[in-house]
C-alpha cells in the first residue's frame, strides 16, 4: 500500500535555512596604526640585490650586545653606512616616534630592520648633486661659487635638523680656503663621493 501522504504536512518548499557559514573571524583590529605600515613595503629591491649580504654584515657590525639586534638609536647610522641619507625625522617616523628612552632601550633585529631600510630606499625626492648645490647656492652672496664657511656653519647649526659644533667641524674639516670660503660644488662632490 502506498503510504498516505499526510495531508497536514504542507509540502514545504521553503528553502532549507542555509547552514550558517562559520563566520570567518574578523582579523583582530590592528593596534593604533603605526606611523608607517612596514608590512606593505616592497622587498623587491633588497631581495634581488646582490648587496643583501652586505646589509646583513653591516647590521651585525652595529650589534654591540650580541643579541643579533641593534638599538633604535643606531638605526639611522646603519642606514647611512649602507648608502642612504635619511633625515632623523624619517627614521623617527619609521620607529613609530619613539621616546628618548625607547631610542636607547628598544632593539630591532635584521628582519625588522629590512623593511625600514627598504622604505628609505623607496622614498621619493631623494637629494642629488644638483639639490645640494642649489641649496647651498642660496648663500652664495657674490654668485662666485663660494659661500662663507662661517655662514654655512651658522645655517647648519640653526636650521633644519641642527648639527652640533663637533659634527660641523668634522664636516668642514679642510673645506675652507685661506679666506674662510667654501667652493660649494667641490664640497658637494666631496660629500657625494662617500
Amino acid at each position: 500500500m502506498a503510504p498516505k501522504k499526510d495531508p497536514k504536512a504542507p509540502a514545504k518548499k521553503a528553502e532549507p535555512a542555509p547552514a550558517p557559514a562559520p563566520a570567518a573571524p574578523e582579523p583582530a583590529p590592528a593596534p593604533a596604526a603605526p606611523a608607517v605600515d612596514l608590512s606593505a613595503v616592497k622587498y623587491l629591491i633588497i631581495l634581488s640585490s646582490f648587496h643583501s649580504t652586505d646589509y646583513r654584515e653591516a647590521f651585525g657590525l652595529f650589534d654591540r650586545v650580541g643579541d643579533s639586534k641593534v638599538a633604535y638609536n643606531q638605526i639611522a647610522d646603519i642606514m647611512r653606512a649602507l648608502g642612504q641619507n635619511p633625515t632623523n625625522k624619517e627614521v623617527n617616523k619609521l620607529l613609530g616616534n619613539p621616546t628618548a628612552d625607547d631610542m636607547v632601550t628598544k632593539r630591532v633585529d635584521f628582519e625588522g630592520f629590512l623593511p625600514m631600510l627598504q622604505t628609505i630606499i623607496n622614498s621619493p625626492n631623494k637629494a642629488g648633486f644638483e639639490d645640494y648645490v642649489e641649496g647651498l647656492r642660496v648663500f652664495d652672496k657674490e654668485g662666485n661659487g663660494t659661500v662663507m664657511g662661517a655662514e654655512l656653519r651658522i645655517v647648519l647649526s640653526t636650521l633644519g635638523e641642527k648639527m652640533t659644533e663637533a659634527e660641523i667641524d668634522s664636516l668642514m674639516a679642510g673645506q675652507e680656503d685661506e679666506n674662510g670660503c667654501v667652493n660649494y660644488e667641490a664640497f658637494v662632490k666631496h660629500i657625494m663621493s662617500v
Partner: protein, 64 residues
Amino acid sequence: MDCHNEECSRPQEEEDIMDIPLDDPEANRAAAKIQAGFRGHMTRKKMKPEDKAEGEERQEDRGQ
C-alpha cells in the same frame, strides 16, 4: 638643546644680518635634506677609514 654645551655667544644681530630664515618651513626642509646628506657622508667616512687602519677600527667599534 643642541648648544647647551657650547657658548651660544653669537650675537643676535649677526644672525639678523645674515637673514637666516629660522621660521621658514621650506628653508628648514631644504636644510634638513642637506644635513641628512652631510650626516650620511660623515657616517660612511667614519666606517671607511684609511685601509691600513680598517681592521683596527672595526675592532674598536666592536669593543665600544
